[in-house]
Structures are given as C-alpha cells and as structure tokens.
Amino acid sequence: MISALSAPFRWLLDRLALVGYGTRFFLRLCGLGIAAFRRPRLVIDQIHFVGNYSLSIILVSGLLIGFVLGLQGYYTLRRYGSEEALGLLVTLSLVRELGPVVTALLFAGRAGTSLTAEVGLMKAGEQIDAMEMMAVDPVARVLAPRFMAALICMPLLAGLFSAMGVLGGYIVGVEMIGVDAGAFWSQMQGGVDWIEDVGNGVVKSIVFGFTVAFVALFVGYEAQPTPEGVAHATTTTVVVASLAVLGLDFILTALMFSST
C-alpha cells in the first residue's frame, strides 16, 4: 500500500534527478566541446561523418519539398491572382520554418540515430569502459567532437535544404507552370529580410542542432549496454529529438515572429 502510494513520488523524483543530471551533462558537453577544438582533426572527422553522410537526404528532401511548395503555393495564390508572390511564399516558408525544422527532423533520423547507436554500441562493447580505464574521458574524447560537429553541420544543412527548396519551387513554379521568373526572384528579394527571416531561421537551426546532438549523445551514452538497450535508445532519440524540435519551434516562432 505504502509502496503504491510512494510510486508516483519516486517516479517524479527519478524524472527530476534525470533533468538535473541531463542539465549537468549538457553543460559539461558544451565546455568540453569548446576544448575539443584543441584537436581539430577529431571534429573535422566527425563533420565528415555527421554532415557529409546527411547531405544527400537533405538535398533531395529540400528539392522535393520545394516542388510541393511550388505546386501548392501556386494553386493557393492563383485564387487571389497573386502567382507572382510564389517566390516569396516558397522562400519565407523555407527559411522561417521548413528549412530548420525539416532539416532537424531528418538530421535526427539520419545522423542522430547513427550517433546514438554508435555511442550505445561502444558502451555495449566495453569501449567506453576501456577508455575510462585508460584514463581518457569518453565524454571529452568521443562525445564532445561529435557534439561540435553536429552544431556546425545543422545550420549549414538547413541552409542547403532551403536553397534546394527554393530551386525546387522555381523549377515547378517558373519552369513547369510558367510563373514569371523576374517576379519570382524580385518578390523574393524584396520580401525576405536578412535579419528577421534568414537570421531567425539560422538561430532556429542552431538551437535545433544543440537539441538533436545533445539528445542523441545523451541517450546513447545512457543506453543499457545490450542489443535491446541500443535499439531502444535509437528509437528514443528519434522520438524525443523530434518532439523537442517541434516544441521548441513553436516557442521560437512565437518569440521571433510575433511582431511581424
């Protein structure tokens, strides 16, 4: 009876302890991440692993979403006789929202799961323990370079995603449907603000980079060192990182664009 009554409190205390531990882990990762640049080779290798291998999925997805935006945007704008604003619609949709958000979701699925599985398998194979026994801090040696690599890659990938999306919108809107090319580009040029739109999009992608990288590495590092544990951790990364990105996107959008 007493244990049944105390169970919710124990659950709450466990969650609070996890939040505290996670916060300390995040701060440690940030500190060690800066120190990781003393050995840039480690970070560069991870940029190649995390960024380069995510490139194809980001570019293709950006192009396809640009196609859809071009098509749907044209159908909607045509009702109001504003087809010329297609470039502006596509670009704002991409740089403000879809670029950072969809890139972060894809990044969580492609690079995040890979990071979680890699760190989890290192733990299951006693490599993390072996490193500790060799007096090498695994958070500094394994996690911090991956964290920094993810932070560097996310805004770059989001930028490429948006660029490919604009190209996709142009191909469908201008080349296939026949919207005026001059109107497409000039509306875009005139309506998109570097600071308000592009700058805020970049800030979003940096925040999402922190989120996805931290979730992926933390969940992998805390995974049970068994095949089931690693499988569970990989799934957890996608679920938690995706929800965190979408939740943060709402908060950031409310903060950034409430006055426009």
Binding site: L121, G125, M134, A135
Partner: protein, 266 residues
C-alpha cells in the same frame, strides 16, 4: 607485505539490496601472476572494477602504490589508471580505429611523443604479441584470439606496473588460448609487473598463476598456490575444481518451497 603493489583490505561492495563482495582481503606483489577464480556471479569482475576505481567500495580499502583508490578524486583516479592496464573479455578494441591506432591510442592521449617514436613503440608492442604483421588490419578482420592479443598490446602500451585480465581465455580455440596464456606469463616475467587474471578456466589459470584466490558468493572461499589448491580438501575448492553439481554452491537458486509455488497443500 610492504612491497605489495596492490592491497585489498576487508573490501565490501553491494548494490541496494544485493551484497556482491564481503570482507575480501588480497595482496598482489609485483612479478607475480595472481588468478581470481570462481563461478559466474561470484564477484570477480566487480573486484577488477573496484581496483580500477570504476566502482567505490562501501567498506574496506583498496591501496594501489600506497594510495587509497576509493578516496581518489577524478584527476587522482586518472593518474592512477595510467599505471594500470586492463584487458577486457572480448578485447574492447575501438572499432573505428585499426590495429595500429588502437595500440597507439594511449600513447597519443597521454604522451607528447613524436609520431615516428610512437610508430616504433607500437610496432614493438605488436611484435611482443606476435601481431606486427597485422598492424594495419581493421578490428573486424581479427579473430577472437588476435583481438585479445591486440588488446594486450594496447594494455601494455604505457608500461603499467599492474595488468588486469578479465576472462582472457573465454571463447578461444585451444591454440589461441595457449598463445594468450603464454603471453600473459611471459609478459609478466619480462616486464616484472603484477598480473591479475580473472578466469573460470581452471586448467589454464593454474598453469600460469603463482597464487590463486577462489571467490564464492562474494567471499574468499580458499586461496593458495595452484598445487596447494589442487590438493585441498576444502569442499568449496573441491566442488569448483571437480565441477560437481552438489556442494556448497547449491544447484537451486534460493526460492520458496516448490509445493508452495505450485499451490499444492500437503
């Protein structure tokens, strides 16, 4: 003895509701191979983790080179671990590095040696375990025995005075097993280090050990030289050495009476 490299005194360790080790005292002098034998779950690997400072004892002390391991902070532990080598059961090689880079790893992390010198040292360590020719192999290309030899080369990279082996013979074919056993003995003698071999492979552990501790249920059930252990009439020793089902270690794990579990009323 004053010249013991590592001394465990009444070490006790357990998790919340389970006692793993209780009152374990051991001595590890340099130049000797000491085998820790015992059944699965007897606390052998936990003992290695305690010695390495990965766990802290709830009572008792572990003194390595005059310093209490349990009282060291993170920096102190790291300084101490640089003077310990550990061979894991399946090698625990870094899968993203090749054989050469695995052995070079501790040298690159802890020394500022120039790369040509690191290269020479790594090749010498690999030569000591007979795998200089496999320096550029990926870890996935290694057999179980080769992986353990590479891990051994990595464990001795910084010339530690203490080397711990966690089940070094598990899952090896007879030739690989004999090779690893001979390497442990030869390296111990050549480097004059203290070696701790955790194993339940009695035949090979006894072949290379100078002294043996038998752990059962978290306590030292018996200890002595391999010959004295072979001649022992202690029921703990006899059950383990003879592989008897009946003995101090019961076949059935502690449980309520079967009739009660099956709901049979007598």
């Amino acid at each position: 003895m004053a010249d013991d490299l590592l001394v465990l005194d009444s070490v006790r360790f357990g998790y919340r509701d389970r006692l793993i080790l209780d009152g374990v005292s051991m001595r590890f002098p340099p130049g000797r191979v000491v085998a820790l034998i015992g059944g699965s779950g007897s606390g052998k690997t936990t003992l290695l983790r305690l010695i390495g400072g990965m766990l802290r004892p709830s009572a008792g002390s572990i003194v390595f080179e005059g310093r209490d391991v349990g009282a060291l902070d993170r920096d102190g532990l790291y300084a101490m671990r640089r003077r310990m080598g550990m061979l894991y059961q399946f090698g625990a090689l870094f899968t993203d590095l090749d054989v050469f880079d695995n052995v070079a790893f501790p040298l690159r992390e802890h020394t500022a040696l120039p790369e040509p010198l690191i290269r020479d040292l790594v090749l010498l360590k690999l030569n000591a375990v007979g795998l200089r020719g496999a320096a550029r192999f990926r870890t996935s290309q290694l057999s179980g025995g080769m992986a353990r030899r590479v891990a051994l080369a990595r464990a001795i990279a910084l010339d530690p005075p203490l080397i711990m082996y966690d089940e070094p013979f598990a899952g090896l074919d007879p030739i690989s097993l004999a090779t690893v056993a001979a390497l442990i003995r030869n390296l111990n003698d050549a480097l004059d280090v203290a070696s701790i071999v955790v194993s339940h492979d009695i035949k090979d552990a006894f072949k290379i050990a100078d002294y043996v501790y038998l752990l059962a249920s978290g306590r030292i059930a018996a200890h002595g030289t391999p010959d004295s252990m072979r001649d022992s009439t202690d029921p703990n020793v006899r059950q383990f050495l003879d592989g008897s089902i009946d003995g101090p270690v019961a076949f059935h794990y502690q449980a309520t009476p079967l009739a009660q579990d099956l709901g049979i009323h007598q």
